[in-house]
Amino acid sequence: MHERKGVWGNTRTSPPIAESDIRKWAIATYWPEPPPPIYWDAEYAATTKHGSIIAPSDFNPFAWPVRRSGPNAAAMRAAMKAAAAKRGADAKPSDKPSGRPPRRTTGMNGGQTDTYGAPMRPGDVISSRSRLLRWEQRQGRLGLTLYTFTETEWTNQDGALVRRRISTGIRY
């Protein structure tokens, strides 16, 4: 985990964003009300300053990967391994496991701060890279809890910054 701190992971690249990906995202997040036309009506969107359909700021072009692994997953696995090791080191001798499987933990999303740049549009291809910024452990309502803070940067095919996210992962 210490080795990963501050080190950018591998860059992932999204498939080209499709109009229908944006439309479905907007329908799902506005449900049951209809989403605004900027997200689905190309004729209307052409009259705005954007000149085309744009995606909602929170749109995720990386949903539905064929292979499920990435820098975030690697960082979280490393964090879990370190937390498990620390739990073992902190345990009293009588608490040490005796051939039992380690306790299963639950991961949750603690929150995020996103700074936005260029909007995402149909046809855009987004690149993503992440790095573990820091972590801390403390006793929470649900027991010993690990908090990890990860930075993820998205850029588009022109190299413009699309989004910078600082996210908080929680595992207990």
Partner: protein
């Protein structure tokens, strides 16, 4: 073109229009489908209870974040920009909750020609309990003809 609010229209203390959704599996399953977020505790009551939520399955933090973004977009219109959104997930989104996005302007200033408006935001449930304290920064246009 849809412009809903200009820089001159807001002052410190101005509140965004409230934006609400009644949440449950119909919302969560749609969000799971587009975000590929089929996490058992968002889909299944037993899995939710195993994750220590006695009431069963519960909603995604990311969907509450989407509600924040949507509330901001609906308020500022298509010509303005959402520059930053942040929040912390402090309470569980239970089935049947009526979630309402709230926002209040805390500061406005012009920096390098951009008209920035800062907001304190939250997502409150039907009991008035805050579930998701956060903040946002939006960039608004001047009202046409106003050179300030």
């Amino acid at each position: 073109m849809a412009v809903h609010v200009y820089f001159e229209d807001v002052e410190v203390g101005t509140e965004m229009p409230a934006w609400s959704r009644t949440t449950g599996l119909m919302n969560w399953n749609r969000y799971a489908a587009v975000n590929d977020e089929f996490v058992p505790f968002h889909m299944d009551d037993e899995a939710g209870r195993r994750a220590k939520n006695e009431q069963g399955a519960f909603g995604m933090g990311n969907l509450r974040y989407a509600y924040l973004v949507n509330a901001l977009r609906d308020w500022i219109g298509d010509e303005a920009e959402i520059r930053e959104v942040g929040c912390q997930y402090r309470a569980i989104n239970q089935k049947g909750d009526v979630l309402t996005v709230t926002g209040k302007v805390t500061e406005k200033k012009t920096v390098d020609g951009e008209h920035l408006v800062y907001l304190e935001t939250n997502v409150v449930n039907q009991n008035g309990e805050p579930t998701c304290p956060g903040h946002a920064i939006v960039v608004l246009e001047n009202r046409p003809g106003d050179a300030s």
